[in-house]
Symmetry: C2
DNA sequence: GGCGAACAGTTACAGCCGTAAATTGGTCCG
DNA sequence: CGGACCAATTTACGGCTGTAACTGTTCGCC
């Protein structure tokens, strides 16, 4: 339960995105883009196994790794921590900060607007 | 330029919040709440000096530490990283996620709505 | 059934981080 | 001038992280 680190999360993203993957598939998926060697990815996989974020299961002669923690939970923890540490746990200050320092594109503003509206009435 | 770590950021928050502080003031401000000894806080201060996030200046017989990096820059870097890693660099997915998993209070929704509107028309 | 290839898992190592003590160096008061 | 304080530097050490090589195991083919 030691927290998923940055590099490890790349591996998790691959598995979350594509379902259970074999080691060499994970290497192809994240090692290559990241410039990591095969050995490195293996280490990450094993650390994730050890911290029970992945489980290995053998099927049709290949070992595949399946996620044991959900992406939602992970994202939850990460963003919660950031929100709490930096913005008093509230969204509005984050959005304000982001708007001020990054120039939201009109498209993004529109998307946000629709989203907020849907939250406001209904659902 | 090595990035401000978690513990270090506590020290930075104190200085950002209260302006230049002396060592023992920082200890009182962050060491006590966090349960850190004086020595620990000293280490953090020194690491921050080394990475040029703080500078020490002597005035009226006391050495005070002043922030060299702005909170905005720090916050920027941190939240940018999170947004990029977890939400494709866009705000809307973060807001959506947060809404889904944390039940925005109506008050917060209203605040967001006003904020978005002000972004939309104007400035 | 043995051997090599493929694959799974283990060990390694340096750097950063949290936590802290010890040592050195500078200032100011008496 | 000599302590007393305070600041700064150095050293310590275990755990986590990024990065990687090495070893042990399994399975198919001869």
């Amino acid at each position: 339960m030691t927290r998923i680190s940055g590099a490890e999360s790349q591996v998790m993203e691959a598995v979350w995105g594509k379902g259970p993957l074999a080691a060499d598939e994970i290497v192809a998926e994240v090692g290559a883009p990241q410039g990591w060697g095969e050995a490195t990815v293996k280490t990450l996989i094993n650390r994730l196994l050890k911290k029970k974020a992945l489980i290995s299961e053998r099927s049709e002669g290949r070992t595949r790794y399946r996620a044991l923690v959900s992406r939602a939970d992970y994202v939850q923890g990460e963003s919660q921590g950031l929100l709490d540490r930096l913005f008093g746990g509230e969204l509005a200050p984050l959005v304000a900060h982001y708007a001020k320092h990054r120039n939201l594109s009109p498209g993004e503003v529109a998307r946000l607007k629709r989203l907020i509206e849907s939250l406001d009435n209904g659902d």
